[in-house]
Symmetry: C2
Subunit: 178 residues, 2 copies
Amino acid sequence: MALKKEYATQDCALARTLELVGERWTMLVVRDTFYGVRRYSDFLAHLDIPRAVLSTRLRTLTEAGILDKRRYAESPPRDEYVLTDKGEALWPALHALLTWGNLHATDYRTRHREFVHALCGSPLTTAGGCETCGRSAMPPAEIDVHPGPGARDHERSDPVSRALLRPHRLLEPLDTTA
Amino acid sequence: MALKKEYATQDCALARTLELVGERWTMLVVRDTFYGVRRYSDFLAHLDIPRAVLSTRLRTLTEAGILDKRRYAESPPRDEYVLTDKGEALWPALHALLTWGNLHATDYRTRHREFVHALCGSPLTTAGGCETCGRSAMPPAEIDVHPGPGARDHERSDPVSRALLRPHRLLEPLDTTA
């Protein structure tokens, strides 16, 4: 059933949030930007998303101030997409959704990614903090994403999936050419 | 553009999570169950959701083990929907989405709801803990939802919105008949 994008009569912060990030594929695009994916071709290869949908989602996220669109080549013109501060502020919500999925929607023992506090090497708590350092929350710039126990059984072989078989600091550009 | 429900090639905890709770309206239904809404007619009045969509969402959430469907009257047959443990585990994700929306998608000064640690009366931190008690996370059973500064300007007058003008403990059944 087609539903309109807005929840007009739901005058609630959650409804406004879902209007921005609740559309199909949007949070997967946002997840990839935390992993350092910035370029259209990499999103496309990693997400298997229809081109028209990817273009629309990137435009919506840019218009919402969640992504910043930056020209990195002129001929041919090429843009990359980088999280703004407002976008980075989505990390706790993204981490909480991923954590719930790992514990309740998939087999936790075969999870593909793990998040590690980069400074001390401890895995993040389910609440997104670091027990070793006694911190209840952690900015993404201090978090590394590591391959989890199920990463190598993962059937995907696109450049983003391959690059994420190595530990990678969140937000830093992911080198998909190696 | 119609997109199929599954993200089949996205073998990721987030994709599985979004298949369960990422559909239109689903997180608003889940939010209401945290507020203590249990009955079809109350969801319907509060959400202005098409009946067919509400029925589908409640069925999907029940089949996913997020809600438990309980018969509370026999003639006519009437059911209520209560969060399971798996459903209650969505609280950190829901709180993080709401917090982001309050800070980045709406005017924070006119927020409609506030969450308060019931034992000490302190507002929850943006990370969902209690600074006063030195706790980094808080189960929903210890949280009260209070009307925020914008609650009374809120145009809605359905029974759920009216009931939530008084402080209410999360998860406890909301009395919408008062």
